[in-house]
């Protein structure tokens, strides 16, 4: 339940509701959408990316001299777990056609396409269990232009406008043009899409969509897709070998500069395992668990940007790594679920963000960066936020409108996960609004790819959140679920074709020594060892007393030491 002191504000929300319901029933927007200048002003004034310390120049690697998100620059200016003399590559422990790093949606799609369409065997190496990924967690939906009023080119325009026209056009075309085919691919694998009575796909709006294009599986969209893909992967143990709790920690190269596999780390036995692969796919997802700018995150436990740093050390260029997505609606209260995602589909179905006086202050379906910035502005500049008992701020997201617009019981039926999440704390979201604030959600940039998922490094392919270029500096809702399907499938295809022709030379991890030299030459002083693998949530006093094993130059430098924020002066 909400604390008593919020009653006055809740009463104002209730009072203005009939008026706002009338607005919602009209075809016009309930609040004027921003034009280009207004968008720029709110972004530059209030988006966390524009805070003075949000970015800094990185001083090593392919993006040397470029301004990146500060935590990303810290991540890249760090030591490897390994040095070349510690890794014996003369007899790799495992040999395979294709190594897929990451067992989320992109990785599973790549493995299935490689097997079904190209007869290629693969190894999926993943840090936690297969499916422990942000793919599993997407709630509201997947965009795909399937309705008669829509078209793939209109989807293109929405996506590229949402990304402020900085998206790589060929990637947006691939995303939007492959979209309808992905819907069919998933349906034939057995995904249960929400449908209308006549069998047509149920479509909803999301932020920045000009046509209803959001397909869903209640609010378990990602879970439905992910479990279907995983189940199919597990139906082919002869072709796809899944190695769980075995994250990759470095890429392996050959003497001609081709990517040739990776070194894995067994989290149980603490062994390093070398995998030689003709082609390698990075599908490691994003970095929410770096808690950029101290924000709570919607991301899964393993989202620590591992793929970025491995690829960067090997020489792959990153793109748009100065841009972070904060989801407009993370939970602000109750404290126990603070930072959790409240699906954008709540706004797609008619939910409205309101200030403490129960008034609208932004069009509910602006692109995410705009919507999030407007919420921050309302709280920080206009004093329109509601303080929580622990000192957070939040604005209301008026969910009771949804049942009023679509009929009683709609919320519980179509948003069972959301309903369940709040009712545990005595908040019935069909009757009471939610208190929300932006939460760290998505890595907009990543390892630069082309429409074949190729990188600067021959033999290295990237798909999903780990990649950069597709979304420009702002992704729209529902385009990441489509992304991991479209580009996971493409990576599977192109990495298979490459694997059939390549002849690898002598294996090496000499790039790690070269990178270490660059760090020394740039006079980088850091104790940070990456990939981080897992964040620590031990209290500070516990951390101070904890064992630190190994120096950073030894294999087996424990995860206990690899804490990004411990190394930061202001941590």
């Amino acid at each position: 339940m909400y604390p008593d002191y919020m009653a006055e504000s809740l009463r104002k929300v209730e009072q203005s509701r009939p008026r706002r319901l009338e607005l919602a029933r009209k075809p016009d927007p309930v609040y004027p959408p921003m034009n280009e200048d207004e968008r720029r002003a709110v972004l530059e004034g209030f988006h966390p990316d524009f805070e003075p310390s949000a970015r800094r120049n990185v001083c090593v690697g392919p993006n040397k001299g470029e301004s990146l998100t500060t935590e990303v620059a810290d991540l890249l200016e760090s030591h490897s777990w390994l040095r070349s003399e510690q890794v014996d590559l003369s007899k790799p422990d495992v040999e395979t056609d294709m190594l897929i790093i990451g067992g989320g949606g992109a990785g599973c799609n790549a493995a299935l396409v490689a097997m079904r369409e190209h007869g290629i065997r693969s190894v999926i190496a993943t840090k936690l269990r297969m499916g422990d990924s942000n793919s599993m967690m997407s709630q509201g939906g997947m965009q795909a232009a399937v309705s008669r009023t829509d078209s793939p080119t209109r989807h293109y325009l929405d996506a590229i406008g949402g990304g402020h026209f900085e998206n790589k056009p060929e990637l947006v075309r691939a995303l939007t043009e492959d979209g309808p085919g992905v819907v069919k691919w998933l349906e034939d694998l057995g995904v249960v899409w929400d449908k209308e009575q006549d069998g047509s796909m149920k479509v909803m709006h999301g932020g920045g969509t000009s046509r209803k294009r959001m397909l869903s599986c209640r609010d378990y969209t990602g879970a439905m897709i992910m479990r279907t893909l995983m189940d199919e992967v597990r139906n082919h143990p002869d072709m796809i070998s899944v190695k769980e709790f075995m994250p990759a920690v470095e890429l392996i190269m050959d003497d001609a500069g081709r990517c040739a596999g990776a070194v894995l780390y067994n989290m149980d036995s603490e062994e390093f395992i070398t995998v030689k692969a003709k082609s390698t796919v990075i599908a490691t997802g994003g970095y929410g668990r770096l808690h950029i700018r101290g924000y709570d995150t919607t991301n899964h436990y393993g989202a620590t940007g591992d793929g970025l740093v491995m690829a960067y050390r090997a020489g792959a260029k990153l793109m748009y790594m100065d841009s972070v997505q904060y989801h407009p609606t993370g939970v602000s209260f109750p404290e126990q679920i603070a930072g959790f995602l409240v699906t954008e589909a709540i706004r797609g179905a008619g939910g409205q963000p309101l200030n403490k006086d129960g008034e609208l202050f932004v069009f509910p379906r602006e692109p995410r960066d705009i919507e999030a910035s407007a919420i921050i502005r309302e709280c920080v500049q206009n004093g329109g936020g509601v303080p929580t008992p622990s000192g957070r701020l939040g604005v209301w997201l008026d969910s009771p409108l949804i049942d009023m617009l679509h009929g009683e019981g709609y919320t519980e039926k179509h948003f069972p996960a959301m309903y369940r999440q709040f009712i545990r704390y005595g908040i019935d979201i069909a009757k009471l609004p939610m208190l929300i604030y932006p939460s760290l959600h998505y890595q907009n940039g990543g390892i630069e790819i082309n429409e074949r998922c190729e990188t600067d490094l021959p033999g290295l392919y990237v798909a999903g959140e780990a990649s950069g270029g597709l979304h420009g500096r702002n992704r729209l809702m529902g385009n990441s679920v489509l992304d991991y399907n479209v580009f996971g499938r493409r990576a599977g295809k192109y990495a298979s074709e490459y694997a059939k022709s390549v002849k690898l030379g002598k294996l090496s991890v000499a790039h790690l020594d070269a990178y270490e030299k660059q760090l020394a030459d740039a006079n980088v002083q850091t104790e940070l060892v990456t990939p981080i693998l897992l964040p620590s949530y031990a209290p500070k006093d516990v951390k101070k007393r904890q064992l630190v094993r190994g120096g950073n130059s030894l294999p087996g430098a424990s995860v206990l030491q690899n804490r990004l924020h411990d190394e930061r002066a202001d941590a």
């Binding site: 966390p48 399937v146 793939p152 309808p180 796909m201 279907t228 404290e335 000192g391 932006p438 949530y537």
Partner: protein, 247 residues
Amino acid sequence: MGSAPAGAGGVLSSSQEDGQQGKAVGSLVTVYIMGKAYEVPAEATIMGAIEYAGHQIIRGAGCREGYCGACATIYRLPGDYKIRTGLACMTMVEEGMTLAQIPSVPAEKAIYDIEKLKPNVTAIQQMYPTVFRCVACNTCTKSCPQGLQVMDYVQAAKRGDIAAVMDLSFDCVVCGLCMLRCPAEITQPLMGIMAKRLYGRYLRKESPELAERVKAVEDGAYAAEYAELMKMGREDLSKRYYARDSE
């Protein structure tokens, strides 16, 4: 400027940054994590409490928001004989709680070719015959942290009612607690996944416009418009974008 993300008491949740825990902790309770006593914040989730105690979870945490089922936990409360079940990321600690996480639930997934199955009782019989051992004791339903009617979907599976299994098991997070508690050793969540796939593959209503759209894309119906859009400079594209109508 300066936004206000993390509050002072960020110890309770599983989505928050470290480093907040030193401050403003309210009242504490004693919980027994695998038998060992720890003082933890009274308002914490079980996952928050385990981490507050200083454990680095490897198995037993995934999405941390109630979707992935990695954090299945069993516990008892003082003076109560009942074994209780929950997701660690979603369940609050209580005074005197004694708990253990279940790192993995052994279960054998059936290997099948969905193209060779039919959405009927035969598929259930062939792939998950243990379903027919159900004694209708309802232990599965009582153990489900999602509050699903698990036994009802097991009964539906016995009747070959694939649509009902799909509907009733839709929100299953595959934490495995039902199959761990089941005296008939049924693997309910795995059967549920197969039933959902059978429904999606065979019992869905076909969407006519989807088939048409897929064909149009294959026929290159949008190629010319894509070429035009991709040629446009930022200014023209921006004009087109802001002038577009909305549904």
